[in-house]
């Protein structure tokens, strides 16, 4: 079957427990996800949504697997752009593996179609979010306060 996928990996000097909490705590999330946050009970079968600072639901779906602090699988449908919603649900897998003094965070996002505009869209976002999360956990401050810094806006 045709499929689009990306895999992003970051080694973050923290513990799996702290990283899991950073990935699931709404208030903490706002700091590295440009004011957005997720809402969910974070257990298999519970609903999940990504909410913008102004309350708009950007994406929604369901938690397919939750095995803290190792593995989280989200069924993820885009809701703010009709052409991306039309691509149907995608699947986002987050894996946390301790390696030495760090945790390897792997984020795999898959859509069962090729090409996929959704994968193109999220490909631009994830590196910034993961990089911000890494800076925040390691240094206590984010590197990038805005998703599109001055001069980068189209």
């Amino acid at each position: 079957m045709a499929r689009s996928q990306f895999i992003y990996v970051a080694y973050i000097r923290t513990t799996p427990e702290k990283l899991w909490s950073a990935l699931t705590d709404a208030e903490f999330m706002k700091q590295y996800w440009f004011g957005n946050h997720c809402e969910s009970a974070w257990t298999a079968g519970s609903p999940w949504k990504l909410v913008a600072g102004d309350g708009q639901v950007l994406d929604d779906g369901e938690i397919l697997e939750a095995d803290p602090p190792h593995r989280l699988v989200i069924q993820w449908t885009q809701r703010s752009r009709p052409e991306l919603t039309a691509e149907g649900p995608s699947r986002c897998v987050m894996e946390l593996e301790p390696t030495g003094g760090a945790v390897k965070l792997s984020i795999t996002h898959t859509v069962e179609r090729d090409p996929s505009q959704l994968v193109t869209a999220v490909s631009g976002g994830w590196p910034k979010i993961v990089s911000n999360l890494k800076s925040l956990l390691e240094t206590g401050a984010v590197a990038l306060a805005e998703a599109y810094p001055v001069g980068n806006a189209a």
């Binding site: 895999i7 910034k128 990089s131 001055v150 001069g151």
Partner: protein, 110 residues
């Protein structure tokens, strides 16, 4: 933030045209096997394997085993760190100044 060993690995990995070509190939189409990547480079399989090894050490490429195949994915997270550390910081004040200049000039004009 102190400079780290992985920053050295990252810049070393980028300091070679064949390795940059491999990144471009993966950007154009992610999830390729060694054989598929070799088709686009005029070098031996061993040569490509070595280059991929350095890219993996710098975390610019992630290899995932799927059945009997090993697929290679571009991982742009370290590039984002270079952008934040070496570009955004130096560029933002200048771009802001340019933007202010533009706004002032256009205001006078109108």
């Amino acid at each position: 933030m102190p400079e780290r060993d992985d920053t050295d690995l990252l810049f070393k990995a980028l300091a070679d045209p064949s390795r940059r070509k491999l990144l471009d190939l993966l950007y154009a189409h992610d999830g390729r096997t060694l054989g598929q990547l070799c088709e686009h480079l005029a070098m031996t399989r061993q040569g490509v394997t070595q280059h991929l090894g350095l890219l993996e050490a710098a975390h610019l490429v992630v290899a995932v085993r799927r059945g009997r195949e090993k697929l290679h994915f571009l991982n742009p997270v370290p590039l984002q760190e270079i952008y934040e550390r070496w570009i955004a910081k130096f560029e933002a004040p200048r771009l802001k100044a340019l933007e202010n200049l533009k706004q002032n000039l256009e205001k006078d004009h109108g």
